[in-house]
Each structure stands twice: as structure tokens, then as C-alpha cells.
């Protein structure tokens, strides 16, 4: 509240400094927010593509495994799946997008060639290959979706935070500082006016006193002139 601020010149200078800093911060945060929104829109497009791709691949994989289970039997499919030795691995690193740390997921051993899947070629069929391949592709897309969607969520959180900060500066802090500045300026002007008025008063009083003193002195001089003695010649 403006009334809590002491209306001193020092405070005014401090508030002016804070206003300058806040305005600069506001501009910077606004730019950051706009930049983040642009980045977010790019990531959003990518996330939508990845999501669509994931849906397609999921459907394809489900269809392939259903066909494999239907034609080869559940037992064969489970047997082939159990033969897998090297399971897919993921490693996470991080990258920085406009100050937001987002994960970068690297996957390995997801896509496998026929000889890496662990089951023998003789006792299995092309349907199992198709199902395995479809699931490998699906897993790759899931990993990519995890990366993109996590980045998207983090960006969104950061945009929200930045937006809140911009709004706080724009609608709370800066108006308050402007109000304080105006209050102090008004108070200081008032004080100045009072001071001038006071000075004028003093000056007038002083002039009054001086003129009174001068009038008195003149009167005394007149009196002295009137009381002067008459000489013998008279």
C-alpha cells in the first residue's frame, strides 16, 4: 500500500530503480514467454504427429499379434517372446530449450534383426516376425512420444510460471510501484509547496518586522528633531 511507504526522496529513488528493473524484467519475461510459446507450438505439432504415429503403430502391432496368436497359437507366440535375450534399454540425458531442461531419451536394442530376436527360424513363421517387427516399431514410437510429451509438459509448466510472473509484474508489482512513486512524488511536491509557503510567510513576517523597525526608527528621529533647545540669539 502506498500509504505504508515513507515519502522520502531516497525511497522515491529506490522505487524508481525497482520500476526500471521490473520493467526490464517484464520485457524479458514477456519475450521468454513468447519464445516458449513458439517452441511449445513446434513441440505440440511434433507431439501430435508422434501420437498419431503411435496410435497407428499400436493398431498395426495389435493386429499383427492377434493374427500371429490366431494363426500360430498363443503358445507359439509366447514361446517366441520368451526366447528374447537382450531386452531394449533406454538412457536419458537432458537438453536445454530456453532455460527449460527437457529429457532426451536414447534407446538401444529396440529394433532387432531376425537373428537378434532369440527364437529359431525353423520352428517359427513370418507372422511372428511381423508381430515382433510391429512391436519394435511401436516401442520406438513410445520412447519418442515419452521424450516429446515430457518436453511438452515441462514447457507448458514453464510457460505457465513465466505467464504468472509476467502477470504479477504487469498487474500487481508495477502498478503498486507506480502508485508508490506517484504518492511519494505528490507528497514531496506537497512538502515543497508547504516549504515555499512557509518560507514566504517567514519572509513576509521578516519584511513586516523590518518595516516596523524602520518606521519606529523614523518616528524616533522626528521626535528628537522636535525637542531640540532654543538658543540666546532667540
Amino acid at each position: 500500500m502506498a500509504k505504508d511507504v515513507k515519502p522520502t526522496r531516497k525511497n522515491l529513488m529506490a522505487i524508481e530503480d525497482r520500476i526500471e528493473l521490473s520493467e526490464r524484467g517484464h520485457d524479458t519475461l514477456e519475450k521468454k514467454r513468447d519464445g516458449l510459446i513458439m517452441e511449445f507450438m513446434d513441440i505440440l505439432d511434433q507431439a501430435q504427429d508422434v501420437r498419431d504415429q503411435m496410435d497407428d503403430r499400436y493398431e498395426r502391432a495389435q493386429r499383427a499379434i492377434n493374427m500371429a496368436r490366431a494363426m500360430e497359437g498363443d503358445v507359439s507366440v509366447r514361446g517366441a517372446a520368451a526366447a528374447l535375450k537382450e531386452h531394449p534399454e533406454i538412457t536419458t540425458q537432458s537438453k536445454n530449450i530456453m532455460g527449460v531442461v527437457v529429457p532426451q531419451i536414447e534407446s538401444s536394442k529396440v529394433k532387432k534383426s531376425l537373428d537378434e530376436r532369440g527364437y529359431g527360424v525353423v520352428g517359427t513363421s513370418a507372422r511372428i516376425d511381423e508381430a515382433a517387427e510391429a512391436y519394435e516399431e511401436l516401442l520406438e514410437t513410445i520412447i519418442l512420444a515419452a521424450e516429446v510429451e515430457t518436453a511438452m509438459k515441462k514447457m507448458l509448466t514453464e510457460i505457465e510460471t513465466t505467464k504468472r510472473r509476467v502477470n504479477a509484474l504487469e498487474f500487481t508489482l508495477l502498478p503498486q510501484l507506480y502508485e508508490n512513486q506517484e504518492y511519494i512524488e505528490q507528497k514531496l511536491e506537497e512538502q515543497e509547496r508547504e516549504e515555499i509557503f512557509r518560507m514566504k510567510k517567514i519572509k513576509a513576517k521578516k519584511e513586516e518586522e523590518e518595516s516596523a523597525a524602520r518606521a519606529e526608527a523614523e518616528e524616533e528621529a522626528e521626535d528628537e528633531e522636535a525637542e531640540e533647545p532654543v538658543t540666546a540669539d532667540d
Binding site: 496368436r69 490366431a70 498363443d74 520368451a82 526366447a83 531376425l114 537373428d115 529359431g120 525353423v122
Partner: protein, 352 residues
């Protein structure tokens, strides 16, 4: 392996019983009905058919597609067990030779179970007891806690030697493939062993069928390797005994799918597989081609059955037809369970 191939064969008895069993297989009309049913209805339909005993026995433990699949496997096993029980002498040997592929299946299931730390019950459920390995041997396999114990349990069978040789590679690389290949090699290696040098016409055709089976297996493998682009030596998967190509041919052809297709077109199988090869060239995937191979083999066995009614051929024809029935019903049930349409399922069925 049991030795029952001494003495005379009872072709008349076995083929008569096989004909009666074959007549009870589902026909095209049944499949048409099945493709319109849900899983529950299929189960009910099966309860009123040849599968009644198995459906009732397994009904309390499983449901839906699982119940149907396990019942099919159990019925298949019971039927093939009957064949081995009925057959004597050389007929037993010829039948058992082919049915040992279920032994290979059970051995591979055990090895996969050990490899993936599966529960004993899970492995047991996946067994198809249609081969020659007896109950005691299968129980020893189920009890095995390590690859060494499982291989030891197979001592005296055709799988022991190849598996022992492959164990070292398995221990070195920790991959299951060498063991699985050893089992398949064990089976295919013995498929043509000890057959008569001067067979009668029916046996000759039976041998020809087995060679076709080997050729088709080699073909499947060659095309899968060719289309996968994997860095695998095709010779690792070559099965000796076929007519179509030798190990060197396969190594050369597996890197060139076009040349491979041309070779098949020029072979005796070319006519049967022509349409499937066209589909393959139009990049329709390997699945259609594999279905065409199955259909060709089935048709071939059927022709043999009709030409030589008093030989091993009708038995072999029945084995293949029964297997196909099980595959078809499972395809319908699983397909319906997965929400596939009538047309999609019908396309996948191989009906003769």
C-alpha cells in the same frame, strides 16, 4: 524312441479307422458357421463335436480363446496318440517319424521355459503330447531346472546328440537359437533316416512328401532370411534331404530373393506356388506365401491318400488335415476374440 517298426504293418485296420476319423473333421460349412460365431458360441459348438471330452475336462481351468486352444491341442494329441497306438511295424515308424515334430515342439517349449524362468505349470500347459516321448520322459523334462538337466533327460532320444553339441555355443553366447536349431535339426535329420532303399510306390511317394516338407521348410527359411536382411548364414538353417536345393545353392539364393523366386518357379512346385510368388513380388508379405506352402503340402498329401488308400499316405493325409483343422479353429476363435472380421478370418483359413 520306441522301436515298434519290426514285424508286419496293419494298413487295413489303421487306414479304415483314419478314414472314419477324417470323415468327422470340420468341413467348409462348419467353418462358415464358426466364422460368424463369438468365442462362447464356438466353445459351445465344440462341446457338441469331437472336442467334447477335452472341452469338458478343461472348462473349469480355462475360458475363452485359451480354453479352445488348449482343448484343440489336447484333442490333437489324443488323436495322434491313437494313430501310434493303432499302427504296427513299418506303418508305426512312418507315422511316428512325422509326429516326432511334436516331440521337438515339447523339447523347445521346455528349453524356452527354462530360459525364461517360466513356472512348471505354464510349460506343461504348452505341451502338445502328440509325439513319441512318453509321460515319464516329459515329466523329467518338466522337472529339469537347467539346460544340462533337460538335455540329460533326453538321453537316448534323437535330440540328445545335437543338443549336447549346441550346449557349448549356448553357454558361450547365452542365446537360445543354437539349442532350438539343434532340436529342429535333430527332428529333420532323422526324418529320412533308415527308409528303404527300394521302396514300393506308396512309400516312394511318402518319401517324396517328406522331401517336399523339407523343401518347403528350406523355402520358408530362405525367403524369411532373404526378406529380413539379417546377417545370418543361411547354411545354419539348411535342412538336408530336400530336392530343391543344396546348402551351397541356399547360401547363394538367400541373398537374392528374385533369383530364389525364379528357382522355385522352375521347380516341380512352381505351378502350385506361382500365384503366391506373384503376391510376394507385389510385396504382399511372406504370410501369404507361407499359407500357399501349407495349402500345397495339404493338397499334395490329399492326392497321395486318394491314390494309395492302403498305405501310409492316408494316415499322413489325416495328420495334416487334422493339424490344419486345429489351426483353422484356433484361427477363427482367436480371430473372433481379437475382433477380426469374418472376411479377414476367412482369408487366413486353409481349407481343402
Amino acid at each position: 524312441m520306441s522301436i515298434q517298426n519290426q514285424g508286419g504293418s496293419n494298413y487295413e485296420y489303421v487306414t479304415a479307422r483314419v478314414r472314419s476319423r477324417r470323415a468327422r473333421l470340420f468341413d467348409e460349412d462348419d467353418y462358415r458357421k464358426l466364422t460368424r460365431m463369438g468365442t462362447g458360441e464356438i466353445a459351445r459348438f465344440m462341446e457338441e463335436s469331437e472336442y467334447e471330452t477335452e472341452m469338458n475336462a478343461l472348462g473349469s481351468r480355462h475360458s475363452g480363446g485359451d480354453l479352445i486352444e488348449y482343448a484343440l491341442n489336447r484333442n490333437l494329441a489324443a488323436n495322434f496318440e491313437d494313430l501310434l497306438r493303432w499302427a504296427d511295424g513299418r506303418l508305426y515308424d512312418y507315422t511316428a517319424r512325422y509326429l516326432r515334430k511334436f516331440d521337438a515342439w515339447n523339447v523347445k517349449t521346455t528349453l524356452r521355459g527354462i530360459y525364461s524362468d517360466a513356472e512348471r505349470g505354464e510349460v506343461e500347459d504348452d505341451f502338445i503330447r502328440a509325439g513319441e516321448l512318453g509321460e515319464a520322459r516329459l515329466n523329467r523334462l518338466l522337472d529339469a531346472a537347467s539346460m544340462e538337466e533337460a538335455i540329460e533327460a533326453l538321453r537316448g532320444t534323437m535330440f540328445h546328440g545335437p543338443l549336447t553339441a549346441a550346449l557349448e555355443i549356448y553357454e558361450e553366447h547365452g542365446e537360445l537359437v543354437p539349442l532350438e536349431n539343434a532340436v529342429d535339426r535333430g527332428f529333420y535329420g532323422r526324418l529320412l533316416e533308415g527308409l528303404p532303399e527300394e521302396p514300393d510306390r506308396a512309400t516312394e511317394l511318402y518319401i517324396e512328401f517328406l522331401r517336399a516338407e523339407i523343401d518347403f521348410r528350406n523355402l520358408r527359411n530362405a525367403f524369411r532370411l532373404a526378406y529380413s536382411g539379417a546377417d545370418i548364414d543361411p547354411a545354419d538353417y539348411y535342412i538336408d534331404g530336400g530336392r530343391l536345393f543344396d546348402e551351397g545353392d541356399l547360401r547363394q539364393l538367400a541373398s537374392n530373393p528374385d533369383e530364389l523366386a525364379a528357382r522355385v518357379r522352375d521347380s516341380p512346385y512352381g505351378e502350385d506356388l506361382d500365384a503366391a510368388l506373384d503376391g510376394l513380388e507385389r510385396a504382399e508379405g511372406l504370410v501369404g506365401f507361407e499359407n500357399a506352402l501349407d495349402a500345397a503340402l495339404l493338397e499334395y498329401s490329399d492326392q497321395l491318400s486318394n491314390r494309395y488308400p492302403l498305405s501310409v499316405c492316408p494316415v499322413l493325409g489325416y495328420v495334416l488335415a487334422k493339424e490344419r483343422e486345429v489351426d483353422n479353429i484356433r484361427a477363427v476363435a482367436r480371430g473372433r476374440e481379437a475382433g477380426l472380421g469374418e472376411d479377414e478370418i476367412s482369408e487366413e483359413l486353409v481349407i481343402l
